[in-house]
Symmetry: C2
Subunit: 209 residues, 2 copies
DNA sequence: TTATTATTGTGAAAAAAATTACAACTTACA
DNA sequence: TGTAAGTTGTAATTTTTTTCACAATAATAA
């Protein structure tokens, strides 16, 4: 098997693969079938060499005349970053942000699906919101394993973060994407990703200054 | 003047400074006055050396006995990443995401303020939403210079992205934080930051797999 | 046929970022 | 007093990421 080990792909490359695929989808829909490294680079705001290097790392080869075949490349990226069986996601905290994320994400990825939401507000529970069934938070430990949910997006009120994260870990969650701006630590084997718009804005403001 | 040149701070350090400050605020509110590098490191999920290294780069010194004085450190970080005069921000596209961001951000930072929003839906314009006046998009070119807005957060519908970005650039914007997942390119001198939750989720999914 | 141009793939170098190793200091207390 | 424990600051090293430089190949046109 001539495939590269995917585990040792540089972290940055993994991030970019996701973005390549998004842009390649667009190009496909515009009717393009092939793309050159410099075209993809321009869309991504990076250099053609970096594109070629990333594709080299995943073992994909293009041709000097036609560049890369978009469909093949999309498929290969899928093989690498998607799991075969697909992964199931829960939104925890169905407020403004939770709803915005859910309706944005809906149906965008074949192998990733938001299958449940949780909240503690009775107004929001036991009904379908933004296309996803919203359960009471006290059913979390039951539903997460039952629905084979491996990833949680955390968008609860800040003061609930710690308690809810604890429950998620006890329920056997494998990855948490934390938007609450309350710092978390997770045990070995669980993956954590955090994002705060204020960090992005302050970084931007620093450079604009 | 013994101050370090701020321009040559590593990009990653700038990002972390913003996060340090957020966590230090929390600690202050809990009544702490001093903090050790290993405590801050734990909150940030990184190593104590890296914390010390970052603080070294901004020229801050602690003491072996008490660690760092939180108040002083917060002030120094402010001196470095905030602009003296403050910077003014517009939200462009007051939908789910625009509102979520606006209400989250409100009043969180002294030197960064969201002073205007824009939309093209008459239901949303000429009134105050989430504490911010929302104008019709066709007033953008007039209001951006009049209000000295230097940074825009782009949360319009995807199909409007390109046109709206063009108007922002013509209005003299200096930084764009783009959430639309439609790729943008900006001229020299304008700063661009992009974020897509799907990239975060796919990265997480890859590691969880 | 033979230059010319445009492209990919990749080794090697450079740059950026993180980690290691440890000197220097401070406090506590035996 | 002396020593053990705990801390900061930083030089040196290692690791990761990006960029440079160029060989190899294909298409095109003189
Ligand atoms: N990282 C970012 O860039 C960013 C941006 C906006 C908001 N936020 C944060 O995201 C979170 C959500 O923001 P929002 O604007 O949607 O707020 P929101 O108040 O609209 O939503 C919070 C939701 O959490 C629910 N909740 C509260 N306690 C709960 C509990 N114990 N168990 C289950 N659900 C519970 C509430 O019922 C509500 O539906 C907040 O913590 C906010 O600070 C982060
Ligand atoms: N990056 C991410 O993680 C992420 C997450 C969620 C949504 N999104 C994207 O962010 C954007 C907003 O998402 P949303 O859920 O708030 O959608 P939404 O439909 O609720 O909001 C879009 C807003 O843009 C306004 N708009 C449309 N055309 C406009 C124009 N020409 N000028 C001014 N305003 C205009 C609409 O009136 C609406 O208020 C979308 O592009 C969506 O794809 C990105």
């Amino acid at each position: 098997m001539p495939n590269k080990k995917n585990e040792d792909l540089p972290g940055k490359t993994v991030e970019r693969l996701s973005q390549y695929r998004r842009l390649l989808f667009n190009s496909l829909q515009e009717g393009k079938t092939n793309i050159y490294s410099h075209e993809l680079a321009r869309l991504m705001n990076l250099t053609p060499v970096q594109v070629r290097r990333d594709l080299m790392l995943i073992g994909y080869s293009g041709s000097q005349s036609k560049g890369y075949i978009i469909k093949d490349l999309v498929n290969l990226i899928g093989k690498i970053i998607d799991s075969d069986t697909g992964q199931r996601i829960a939104i925890v905290g169905m407020g403004n942000l939770g709803r915005a994320i859910t309706s944005y994400f809906l149906g965008k990825r074949e192998k990733l699906s938001i299958v449940a939401a949780f909240d503690n507000d009775p107004q929001k529970t036991d009904r379908i919101i933004a296309g996803v069934p919203c359960h009471h938070i006290n059913k979390l430990k039951e539903i997460v394993p039952a629905e084979s949910i491996s990833i949680a997006v955390l968008t609860v009120a800040p003061e609930a973060t710690y308690e809810v994260a604890k429950q998620l870990l006890e329920a056997g969650i494998k990855g948490i994407l934390n938007y609450t701006s309350v710092p978390l630590t997770v045990p070995e084997g669980v993956h954590l990703e955090e994002y705060d718009i204020i960090t992005s804005l302050e970084k931007l403001a620093f450079h604009v200054k």
